[in-house]
């Protein structure tokens, strides 16, 4: 266990090295939130509430979605780089669990982003954009829980894509297509409220809604209390399902692996 804590710590320290980059990241997030709010303001110019969605709620949604994107970011090419350079051969010789290593590495990045990016960005957003507080304290706790599950859904999904680098030399295309699907289908850019019903019905059958939409709507108090347990359970099922697929792929990837040096 200690080894994994060290991996996370190392990832944290690696990121600290690029402080200017980190500040630029915060400024980027703030600008994009601001711009998005401007666009929504233009859309809402004539109407106060569209389909019962209040403007304030929408702003809160936009801010939360962007902040979550900030901390959900992962090192997409870590495994690919290891496979291509051959250094994965050395990693596999070490007495550690490789998937555990990758997870703790990304956890380190997550903690870095929560401390160095989320905290300042959140404070600025609360002051600048006047986002709504959580619906209630209970909802806030459930939101945090749901957000963790959302992160795990995204992580397991990402892991499956990353592992494909054992079969494909480059995963840029796959990662990019996956990102595009996540951005649209998870409600990261546009709340599912505004999508046509058929599309929403489809999205609810996929793991994507679990990533952004479910946690944020819990925060806003839009999910009735009696449905929250079901929503969380659904997230958990997706985590487990995707995790198992990832494990199976990992097994067959090991059989497939050819190290060209490293």
């Amino acid at each position: 266990m200690r080894a994994y804590v060290e991996f996370a710590k190392k990832a944290f320290q690696n990121n600290i090295a690029y402080r200017a980059d980190c500040v630029a990241g915060i400024i980027n997030a703030i600008i994009m939130i601001f711009v998005n709010i401007c666009v929504w303001k233009a859309i809402y110019e004539d109407e106060q509430a569209v389909d019962g969605v209040q403007f304030k709620m929408l702003i809160t949604y936009v801010v939360l979605a962007f902040l979550m994107q900030c901390i959900y970011a992962m090192d997409e090419y870590h495994i690919e780089n290891k496979v291509r350079s051959g250094s994965i051969g050395l990693d596999l010789l070490k007495p550690i669990n490789f998937s555990g290593y990758i997870f703790s590495y990304n956890l380190g990045i997550l903690i870095f982003r929560v401390v160095m990016q989320l905290t300042p960005a959140l404070i600025i957003s609360i002051i600048l954009f006047k986002m709504l507080p959580p619906f209630s304290l209970t909802m806030f706790a459930l939101f945090l829980l749901s957000m963790i599950l959302g992160y795990l859904v995204l992580y397991c999904l990402n892991f499956i894509v990353w592992i494909s680098s054992f079969w494909f030399y480059w995963t840029f295309s796959l990662v990019t297509i996956k990102d595009a699907a996540v951005m649209i289908l998870s409600g990261a850019l546009l709340p599912l409220w505004f999508m046509p019903q058929a599309m929403v019905d489809f999205i609810k059958l996929t793991p994507f809604a679990s990533i952004y939409y479910v946690p944020i709507t819990i925060y806003l108090g839009q999910v009735p209390m009696e449905e929250i347990a079901f929503a969380l359970l659904k997230q958990l099922i997706w985590v487990l399902g995707l995790f198992i697929v990832g494990r199976l792929l990992w097994r067959s990837a090991l059989k497939k692996l050819v190290v060209q040096g490293g």
């Binding site: 990019t176 990102d179 595009a180 505004f194």
Partner: protein
Amino acid sequence: MKKKPLYSPIEMIILIMKYAKLSIKSILEYKFDRVFITIAIFCREMISVVVMFLILTRFVRIKGWEYNQMFFLYSFLFLSYSVFVLFFAGMRDFDNMIYSGEFDRFLTRPLGLMYQIVASRIDLSAALGHGIVGIILFVNTAFSVGIVWNAKNIIYYIVILLSGAVIQASIFLFSACFSFWTYKVDNLRNMIFFNARRISGYPLSFYPGIIQKLLMFVVPFAFVNFFPAQYFLRKSEMSSYWNGFFYMTPVVAVIMFLLVYAFWKKGVSRYSSTGTAM
């Protein structure tokens, strides 16, 4: 003292053709991979279009802008970006050339540095990925927003597209220049280029004054799409801007390029290698 160029213009053009042939050959070597990259870029770029589409199906019009007009405005960004990566992909990848040490090789050759950078790359996958999005938007809107496609308008459009490509190339090169001083420019580039580009997807008049000023005079994306689109659409909000802006795009392109070129020269003169060449 000005050195006499070693090659005549005709030889330089022949050389560009040879470079292009090599680029195309290396692309054809990985046909499947390249097609897949094109599809991926297409998907990535379509995200913002789909979001806009979904918003517009709900709200029909925003601040007097209709569906067709919005997409017509957007198509400029994709088409000019496509032209940019087709001709100036080297300017896009320039920071990477420094990082990988490829730039050092250029220094040893008896040819202009900028010439080599521009000539050495063609990114067909990205050009197609962006270009297809642009063409889809253009074809769907260009004939429904009330434009008469006479000779004058067609020439105007072509000039705008090329100037837009030069403006985007200049902005890209500008952010890449910082890699002479620091070696990581990703977030800076997101800030200067990609955010500005995303912001320009919607009409300038949606934003508060400060953002409008930034997009006109600092990162001049307004001249890539907003004013050219207004030239065709002539919406009422144009009354709050100077009409001369319609024709400023080529001027902005030339000024931008000269400024950035000077900045780039300054960077080259203090360049020291990362030591990773070959």
